[in-house]
């Protein structure tokens, strides 16, 4: 058991002052295990930077150089930039011995779904958070893989509010699809996987919704439903807005499960569940590092 009074908070830096980085910052302020010691971007006048300054958090506009200047001040870095930049950052941070929680689809470290492999993931120095759609769907794919024999095929479809998809997301749909499919394959052990993303411009904005399909012969729906319910509860511990929209059904020769992720409404409105879910998962990972370190001290 951790004794909270003796606990040392893990000192984290956030690289990237966009929506993901800023929302992470707000979530970290609530954490008992983490302390954001540096918020790093490239542009001091960005809204994220302004928010951080207003919150009294130390900021820098020097990108990775801010960490190189004083590496001892930081234990863990959230990289919320781009896949390309993350690769460059990692080449530096690895040598500095920093833990990296990678929010980009750079796929440099081990893939992590906290509800599935948290303890294993934090044994590595770089943990990749896959994609928002992956965080929503892979736990279900994992349960299907765990409870069913011979999963030939798993497919996930995510629909997100158009307003929650920024320019980088729009330009990089291919990377989203690739990375999500890779994550699905890794966790479900299905022979083949597919990921699809839809942007929906409806007003009012839709919540992030994800459907998981699986091709399984003679499915064990009872066992599946039981495990899905357990998994949903496990996810809700770190993503409070996660819920089951349609319990597992077997329809037209396929298993169908639908989940919804509503955001906490920290930095962005609640409909941006896609940003929220990947951030909640990343925080869970960082907190686990903190717990492990405190336990070993």
């Amino acid at each position: 058991m951790l004794n909270k009074t003796n606990m040392t908070k893990l000192r984290v830096a956030i690289l990237g002052s966009g929506n993901i980085g800023t929302d992470l910052l707000i979530k970290i302020q609530r954490s008992e295990f983490l302390e954001c010691v540096l918020f790093i971007g490239r542009n001091l006048s960005s809204p994220g930077m302004a928010k951080a300054i207003a919150m009294g958090v130390k900021v820098s506009d020097e990108s990775i150089k801010a960490i190189e200047k004083d590496p001892d001040a930081i234990d863990l870095v959230f990289d919320a930039t781009s896949a390309k930049d993350a690769a460059h950052h990692w080449s530096i941070l690895e040598k500095l011995g920093k833990i990296v929680v990678d929010m980009t689809p750079a796929k440099l470290g081990g893939l992590c779904i906290p509800a599935v492999n948290l303890a294993e993931a934090v044994k590595q120095q770089n943990v990749n958070m896959i994609t928002c759609g992956g965080q929503a769907s892979i736990p279900m794919a994992y349960v299907i893989g765990k409870t069913q024999k011979n999963v030939d095929y798993i497919e996930v479809v995510s629909s997100i509010a158009s307003r929650s998809a920024g320019p980088a997301t729009r330009l990089n749909l291919d990377e989203y699809v690739d990375t999500t499919e890779m994550g699905l394959m890794y966790f479900s052990k299905a022979k083949k996987t597919k990921a699809i993303l839809n942007l929906n411009p409806a007003d009012p904005c839709i919540d992030m919704q994800t459907t998981i399909f699986a091709q399984v012969e003679n499915p064990d729906m009872e066992e599946l439903t039981k495990e899905v319910n357990i998994m949903v509860e496990a996810i809700r511990k770190y993503v409070p807005g996660y819920s089951l929209l349609v319990s597992p059904i077997y329809e037209n020769g396929r298993i169908v499960i639908m989940v919804k992720a509503q955001g906490l409404g920290d930095y962005l409105p609640k409909y941006a569940g896609n940003l929220d879910i990947i951030n909640c998962a990343a925080i869970a990972v960082a907190e686990e590092y903190s717990k492990v370190q405190n336990n070993s001290n």
């Binding site: 490239r42 542009n43 006048s45 506009d61």
Partner: protein, 355 residues
């Protein structure tokens, strides 16, 4: 990888364009900052300064400020390793303090690529508005600043009706409540910022309004007719003329462009605007024919257009008499030569891979 052949290629271009290396004597032992220093203009300015340093035995220092230094080092390794060049990786929106030995600034930051403008309109506005303000603010605190050249755009002229060529005093219309005018309006406010800094802080600013360019370092994927015509031609065609084939443009070669910019830095009048471009007008149809005849006469040319006839003819050709006369510059490359050198350079550089 930059081969010897490619290095000599751009050196020859500079030699042709730089008619009077000695006219840059006032830049000797001076430092020039180029924002957007890793782009098309930055590369050509680096080429030209390199040529002048070498041939006139000057010591002109260059600071190139850009967002992606690593890419620059790969693309133009022969420039990146020059000792007179210092690379600064920074977002122009975020410039605060500049090296105090800077005497001259060429503010060329911001992409002219319209795809970026419509996909990332807010970043476009920020880059030109905040970026210009950041640079000019920092410039007010430089102890020995002699001249700033602000790179504007011909787009500030708005729609030009039948006015052609366009003189510096022409003022066209622009609809501000329009996504497609993001770039033009941002460039307009940047010029207004220049006039405010010139008046309030006495900054010695010269404004250049570039038109279209061609030559090495022009990315053929950029969404401009001549770039795409050359790419389609190298790919074996067809060359597609999209929209009104009677549209008229002109293209200044890269090395001429950089010579003219440096001349403006030395001799440009503070508070003056100069067009920067070629006066050799050509319609898109004729341009496509020229390119196809230079690559291979059998290349097909197709026209695709929303309308049969147009009530409005876009003619973006600068009246260059002001810059030619007052800065003593000349076009040293006729369009035919500009095109052929661009094609050869791209083929040498394997920029377009025929599949």
């Amino acid at each position: 990888m930059m081969t010897e052949a490619l290095k000599n290629f751009t050196f020859e271009d500079c030699k042709r364009s730089c008619m009077h290396p000695d006219s840059f004597s006032s830049l000797n032992d001076q430092s020039i900052l180029v924002t957007g220093g890793t782009g098309f203009m930055g590369k050509w300015i680096a080429e030209m300064v390199s040529y002048v340093n070498e041939t006139a035995n000057f010591n002109i220092k260059l600071y190139l400020l850009g967002r992606d230094i690593a890419k620059f080092k790969v693309e133009v390794s022969h420039l990146a390793q020059k000792s007179f060049i210092t690379l600064i990786e920074q977002d122009v929106r975020n410039v605060r303090d500049l090296p105090t030995d800077i005497n001259y600034i060429i503010h060329a930051a911001g992409s002219p690529d319209h795809r970026d403008h419509v996909s990332q309109p807010l970043r476009t506005i920020e880059t030109f508005y905040k970026g210009t303000q950041s640079v000019l603010d920092a410039a007010t605190r430089l102890p020995d600043l002699k001249r700033i050249v602000h790179i504007s755009s011909h787009q500030i002229y708005g729609t030009n009706g039948l006015e052609s060529p366009i003189g510096e005093n022409f003022i066209g219309k622009l609809e501000p409540n329009s996504l497609s005018n993001t770039y033009a309006e941002s460039k307009r406010i940047s010029e207004t910022l220049c006039s405010a800094y010139r008046n309030q802080f006495k900054l010695p600013i010269v404004v250049l309004r570039p038109f279209a360019f061609i030559g090495p370092y022009q990315d053929l994927e950029k969404p401009w007719a001549i770039n795409n015509f050359i790419r389609d031609g190298i790919l074996g065609g067809p060359i597609r003329i999209l929209g009104n084939g009677s549209t008229v443009r002109s293209y200044l070669y890269g090395s001429d462009m950089s010579y003219w910019i440096l001349k403006a830095l030395v001799n440009g009048g503070v508070g003056e605007n100069y067009n920067l471009g070629s006066s050799e007008a050509i319609s898109l149809v004729d341009l496509a024919k020229k390119i196809s005849s230079q690559i291979n006469n059998s290349i097909e040319i197709v026209s695709k257009s929303s309308k049969e006839s147009y009530t409005y003819l876009s003619r973006l050709v600068p009246d260059t008499s002001k810059i030619v006369k007052s800065l003593e510059v000349n076009e040293t490359s006729a369009l035919d030569d500009s095109i052929s050198r661009t094609i050869i350079w791209n083929q040498l550089n394997k920029k377009v891979i025929k599949k």
